[in-house]
């Protein structure tokens, strides 16, 4: 793939956002070289999520758990990580233990 080529990222976000249960998944198209941060900025619009859970994830005082292909990413510290075609990103908005 050359620069500017399209890549597809499979995303899933679930947990509680703004006091409501969220469980959404889909595919977000980005460009080769785009980062996790870019994904978070693009995902809500790309998936048509009016609730904007990807943006809200960082606004509710809880640090979300983000998995890239199953491995934990420290966000925002690792927000600059470049994504590759076929990557899978899970965002888990967990709160506590029971």
């Amino acid at each position: 793939m050359g620069p500017g080529a399209k890549i597809n990222i499979r995303v899933r976000i679930f947990g509680a956002v703004n006091g409501q249960s969220v469980k959404t998944s889909g595919t977000v198209q980005l460009k080769e070289g785009d980062t996790v941060k870019r994904l978070f900025n693009r995902a809500d619009a790309a998936l048509g999520l009016r609730q904007e859970p990807f943006k809200q994830a960082f606004r509710q005082g809880i640090r979300p758990v983000v998995l890239l292909n199953g491995d934990r990413l420290e966000i925002p510290e690792e927000g600059g990580r470049r994504l590759a075609d076929g990557d899978e990103v899970h965002v888990i908005l967990t709160v506590a233990g029971g």
Partner: protein, 684 residues
């Protein structure tokens, strides 16, 4: 109909009951105000009585063990979230301090009998139960109930004594002396951990029936009501504002959080909403994914081995459709409990408590089992048998892994093929454990003993913390759990403290000197322990306080500042500060720890966590990829904060003196070894 008590009029009854089951003698002991100011009630009262009255070194399943039931000091005073009682005794699993607690309605009924604690000694020659009410207490023959399951026992005793009577009892597992049996109440709620149901069975004590009607008096009932009303309103929130703003309310509050050090309702408010809707089952699916839940006997990875498409089958949305009604425990406005009916699937269940997260994980994620009906069935079986679902799930996981590795074969399992995720086999094995049939007899006392009995390297699959099966939160996800699993006098306890709990409780708003501890930190900070000991210690002291007053941990996590201190002063008429109460919490913690040291136990040495819990070796994939926890680092940080000696576990004499526990040091051997010479007991 209830009556005002003639007791102290200060939130406590001023007396406890001692029952010698060997001689069938019952005696009351008066306690003065100074006692309550040092230990409050509940867990604190239990710790002091057991410290005074138990010989070190004796058999937990023998007649010398003392078993206590202690309602919290705030129970039935009008304070919210305070309907829990503790069960205390020496644990057969750890051979050290044991306790467990339970909600429901037993705690206020016991207190309405005019006692702040019941303590059982000796062993009855025949099965008995204790009946007590306003008039007094009496041991009665329980032969007709012996052999009945816990729910049926409770039902029949309530039929006999009326709906007002509340029952705590054991099922067949306790009768058969299982080390992982609990004490049941409210048709399947359970004081499950520490194996105290087995201790109760060893005493031939089937049940306690409390049918009191005298409410305990308080110093300032109006003030308590004001505090409770305000706290209830705070939890209910500004409904009108919420309707107006809808989702924007939380967004706005989040904005405030980011812009300044102003406390907002989140994340505790989110947790409250989740609890109200789903109970603790809310966590099941995403905890498997995030790395919070242990997977495949702590050797698997949720993302790979139990992905969302499977964990969602046992998640909250799958369960909520079986709910028939929601309920709350005594004095609880949250209502995180629910009753479910299971009309479909292979196992009809007329009525059952919705399984909690711990049970769903122990019989689901831990076993790679997405067959929800088999989990419902196991939950019902265990509630009836009176067995701890966490420990039993861990035992089943252990057996499956032994089978998978050829250590157990169909010869030992009576032909049962044990495979991950096989719901039918899991149920069959659970039934064998309950009835102590065949392999079940080897497994019924927990993974530690089972691995010793089986040998052949099976200890590699026996995941426990000092004998106690590990709960369903992985310290590699929240390392605060690791510190608590290792250092708490009842090791492997998930409800004491962790970074998530500290974040939700916001103890910095309750106590001077407590610092805000965020639940989710950078990786570098998350796995660093040297700066966490103090916060974890304060969290632990707070937890002692919570258990001493009979409060529910969720009441401290769901937003706002729970007015425990104000409730306590209003109930008792004392004028103690928050810090004074935190000292009481520390006193209880130090005394429980000293109990273990007197038994020759040093947590750092004797409660070591299984290597899988620590990530030794680390996973090569998943949320905890590359994570290895530093056990000695955890111990050092917590021991330093507590003033405990790393090599012996001995507490700091100066600190004990400051806590009014100077006599404790003299009861401990200078090298931390078991003190087993003759022991002067407090007279009853």
């Amino acid at each position: 109909m209830t009556h005002e008590s003639q007791g102290t009029g200060r939130g406590y009854c001023g007396r406890i009951l001692h029952v010698d089951l060997g001689t069938s003698t019952i005696s009351y002991q008066a306690l003065d105000e100074a006692f309550y100011q040092k230990y409050l009630g509940g867990l604190g009262l239990g710790a002091k009585v057991l410290w005074d009255r138990m010989k070190p070194g004796m058999d937990p399943m023998g007649p010398d063990n003392v078993l206590g039931f202690t309602p919290g000091l705030l129970t039935d005073t009008g304070a919210l979230f305070t309907g829990r009682f503790s069960v205390v005794g020496k644990s057969p699993l750890t051979r050290g301090w044991g306790d467990a607690n339970c909600g429901g309605y037993f705690s206020p009924s016991l207190k309405r009998c005019g006692v702040d604690g019941l303590f059982f000694y000796g062993r009855s020659p025949e099965p008995v139960y204790l009946y007590l009410d306003d008039q007094g207490a009496e041991l009665r023959n329980a032969s007709e109930f012996w052999g009945l399951d816990a729910i049926e026992t409770e039902k029949r005793l309530k039929e006999r004594y009326g709906k007002r009577a509340q029952v705590a009892c054991i099922g067949p597992a306790g009768e058969q002396l299982s080390f992982i049996a609990g004490v049941s109440h409210d048709r399947g709620r359970m004081a499950a951990r520490s194996g105290l149901g087995g201790v109760m069975g060893s005493k031939k004590l089937k049940a306690v029936v409390a049918a009191g009607t005298h409410r305990v008096g308080v110093a300032d009932r109006k003030r308590i009501q004001e505090l409770s009303t305000a706290f209830r309103k705070r939890l209910e929130g500004q409904k009108g504002l919420k309707r107006l703003l809808g989702d924007r309310l939380f967004g706005f509050m989040g904005w405030v959080t980011r812009k300044g050090p102003v406390y907002t309702r989140q994340p505790a408010d989110l947790w409250r909403l989740m609890l109200s809707k789903y109970g603790t089952s809310a966590l099941t699916a995403f905890s498997a994914e995030s790395g919070d839940s242990p997977v495949k006997n702590w050797g698997g990875i949720g993302y790979r081995d139990f992905p969302l498409k499977r964990s969602q089958k046992i998640g909250p949305e799958a369960i909520v459709k079986y709910e028939t009604k929601k309920y709350g425990c005594f004095s609880c406005p949250l209502l995180c409990g629910a009753i479910v009916q299971i009309p479909d699937g292979p196992f009809f269940i007329e009525e059952m408590h919705r399984p909690e997260y711990e049970s769903l994980c122990a019989f689901g994620t831990l076993l790679l089992n997405d067959d929800l009906h088999s989990i419902f069935r196991a939950n019902d079986l265990l509630n009836r048998a009176g067995l701890d679902t966490i420990s039993c799930g861990a035992v089943v996981a252990f057996a499956i892994e032994c089978f998978e590795n050829g250590i157990l074969t169909t010869k030992e399992t009576d032909g049962l093929e044990l495979r991950w995720g096989d719901g039918q086999a899991i149920i069959k094995l659970t039934e064998m454990i309950i009835s102590r049939q065949g392999l079940g007899d080897i497994l019924a006392d927990g993974v530690n003993l089972a691995s010793q009995r089986i040998g052949q390297g099976s200890e590699a699959f026996a995941v426990h913390c000092g004998g106690m099966e590990a709960p369903m939160h992985d310290p590699k996800f929240d390392p605060g759990f690791g510190m608590a699993y290792l250092c708490e006098p009842t090791p492997g306890r998930h409800s004491v403290s962790s970074y998530m709990l500290l974040d939700l409780q916001r103890l910095d708003r309750l106590f001077k000197g407590a610092k805000k501890t965020p639940a989710f930190m950078t990786a570098k900070e998350r796995y660093r322990f040297d700066n966490k000991g103090e916060a974890m210690a304060i969290g632990t002291f707070f937890r002692q306080l919570v258990d001493a007053v009979g409060a529910c941990t969720f009441g401290t996590q769901v937003g706002g500042v729970i007015p425990l201190i104000q409730w306590l002063n209003a109930a008792t008429g004392w004028k103690l500060s928050a810090e004074d109460y935190l000292v009481i919490g520390e006193r209880i913690e130090q005394l429980r720890h000293a109990f273990n040291v007197r038994e020759g136990l040093n947590p750092r040495r004797d409660f070591r966590l299984h290597p899988r819990i620590l990530g030794h070796p680390p996973f090569d994939k998943g949320p905890a990829k590359g994570v290895s926890l530093d056990l000695d680092g955890m111990a050092k940080a917590f021991y330093e904060a507590m003033g405990w000696d790393l090599s012996t576990g001995l507490p700091d004499p100066a600190r004990l003196e400051h806590l009014g526990l100077s006599e404790v040091m003299g009861a401990l051997n200078p090298d931390g070894s078991l003190r087993n010479e003759s022991w002067d007991l407090e007279p009853r």
